[in-house]
Amino acid sequence: MAPILFLFFIAAGFAAFLIGISIKFAPKDRPTDIKASSYECGLAPDPPPSRHIPVKFYRTAILFIIFDIEIIFMYPFALAYRDFLAQGQGLYILLVMGVFLAFFLLGLWWEIASKALKWT
């Protein structure tokens, strides 16, 4: 645990140190209005970016959460699989997991068939 935290703080400290050097030593110039405005290829940055985001990003995020949780449930199964086989419970675990995987497949099929992922 401690080494992970140490690495975390070293990485953060390194980045902060570099930014600090840049703030301290790099030349400063008085910002003009043009310089301080957003760089959008010369168009006036007006209006500012909208807080409305296309719904397809939300759809992707929601589907991701559902599928990611389902996939995470396969990790304990994959780790315990050999133990079940060694105890002669292989058919049982395969069938139980088969039901779960069938729902996964059904979800994936429904998601594609209902065009939830159509990106146009």
Binding site: S37, S50, F64, L91, T120
Partner: protein
């Protein structure tokens, strides 16, 4: 100073060395990539500064440090400065968990008048028994850096680029974690060191009841999981936003993507994060599918130990670890070269093609890979023991 203090010191030094070598490898990689791309396109690339243009590495580091530190007036200052920090932390954390060589067992010794017991020196920042889960969980945190960078920039193109990057990262995250299920089914462990140990022998598998061994092939993961290895590699490409999946930075559409508003050293930190991601991807591919630091017929800890034991005596352990470390480095750099090669070869996808590839091709294939692996293991187990039950 006792055993504990020494262990803390060793761990601290190790982590410092790992992080600094990762950081200093980045400018070298940038130089190597520019040279490789140039040679592949019949150009010369950077060759003016120093021999082979190697001093370019120094120039690339000093120049952005001396650029003005600037944040536009539309930016959210705090988050704008936080994002580059967040970009380099996740890959650095994963890098610390990768085993670079065989653990070295030091016998008990005396140092400054204190006796230290036998100590196992691991060539990895920290030895985790859930390495795979740790790597997956931590590396996906880098999506936050992209989102925060894009959102805090106050720029339409940055926001769009960040949204694209995040949607792409999470979409390929699914295929990535599902492709690994097959690997865990085969190796039955989440520990990186354990995985490498399993791959250090010859290729062995049970085939309809009889154990078969192929003595001239190493037992690498890619021979058990060829489809999984391919899927994982593509997912890593997409995760690190590399060509052909560099949609978040598509210049023609988005100026420069999520880091349009960044410049100077803050931009360089994003680049460090990106290259660190590629390094992590290469190291993980080597560890998962290409035998880690071993290469079965010649370069395994047993054969090397025997070889060095006869000639060098007590230095055998150290020399073995060093030789295996070099083996790891060679494989690691080969993979990095493949990443550059792909960049020189492939054109960019269109965004809808990218999402389709992730959700409708890679995900079903990864799913099929996991199911087939489980069923095949079940069938071979059935033939080995002759019955379905106990």
């Amino acid at each position: 100073m006792g055993q504990d203090t020494m262990e803390t010191l060793i761990n601290g030094t190790k982590i410092l060395v790992i992080f600094l070598s990762m950081g200093s490898l980045v400018p070298f990689l940038v130089w190597a990539e520019r040279r490789t791309l140039a040679l592949m396109q019949s150009r010369l690339g950077p060759n003016r500064t120093g021999p082979l243009g190697l001093l370019q590495i120094l120039a690339d580091l000093v120049k952005p440090l001396m650029k003005e530190d600037f944040a536009g007036q539309a930016t959210h200052k705090g988050l704008f400065y936080l994002a580059p920090l967040l970009a380099i932390i996740p890959p650095a954390l994963v890098f610390g968990a990768i085993p670079f060589s065989h653990p070295l067992i030091l016998p008990s010794f005396e140092f400054l008048g204190y006796a230290f017991g036998p100590y196992t020196f691991y060539f990895q920042g920290f030895n985790l028994n859930v390495g795979v889960v740790f790597a997956l969980g931590v590396s996906s945190l880098s999506a936050y850096a992209l989102l925060i960078a894009g959102w805090s920039s106050g720029n339409k193109y940055s926001l769009l680029g960040a949204l694209r990057a995040a949607a792409q990262t999470i979409s390929y995250e699914l295929a990535l974690s599902l492709a690994l299920v097959g690997l865990i089914l085969v190796f039955n462990t989440l520990d990186f060191l354990e995985m490498v140990k399993i791959q250090s022998g010859p290729l062995t598998f049970s085939f309809f009841g009889s154990e078969k061994t192929i003595p001239f092939l190493p037992g690498w993961g890619i021979f058990y999981q060829p489809v999984g290895a391919f899927l994982l590699f593509i997912s890593f490409l997409a995760e690190s936003n590399r060509v052909p999946f560099d949609l978040p930075e598509a210049e023609g559409e988005l100026v420069a993507g999520y880091h349009t508003e960044y410049g100077g050293i803050k931009l360089i930190l994003f680049y460090i994060g990106e290259y660190a991601h590629i390094m992590v991807a290469s190291a993980l591919m080597v560890t998962f599918y290409f035998g880690g630091y071993t290469f079965y017929p010649f370069l395994t800890e047993d054969s090397l130990n025997g070889l060095f034991q006869a000639r060098m005596g007590e230095w055998a352990g150290l020399l073995t670890s060093l030789a295996l470390f070099i083996t790891f480095l060679v494989k690691f750099f080969l993979f990095l070269f493949v990443f550059m090669w792909i960049r020189a070869t492939l054109p960019r996808f269109r965004y809808d093609q990218l999402m389709d590839l992730g959700w409708k091709t890679l995900l079903p294939w990864a799913f099929g890979n996991a199911v087939v692996t489980a069923v095949v293991i079940f069938i071979f187990d059935f033939f080995k023991r002759g019955s379905f039950f106990g």
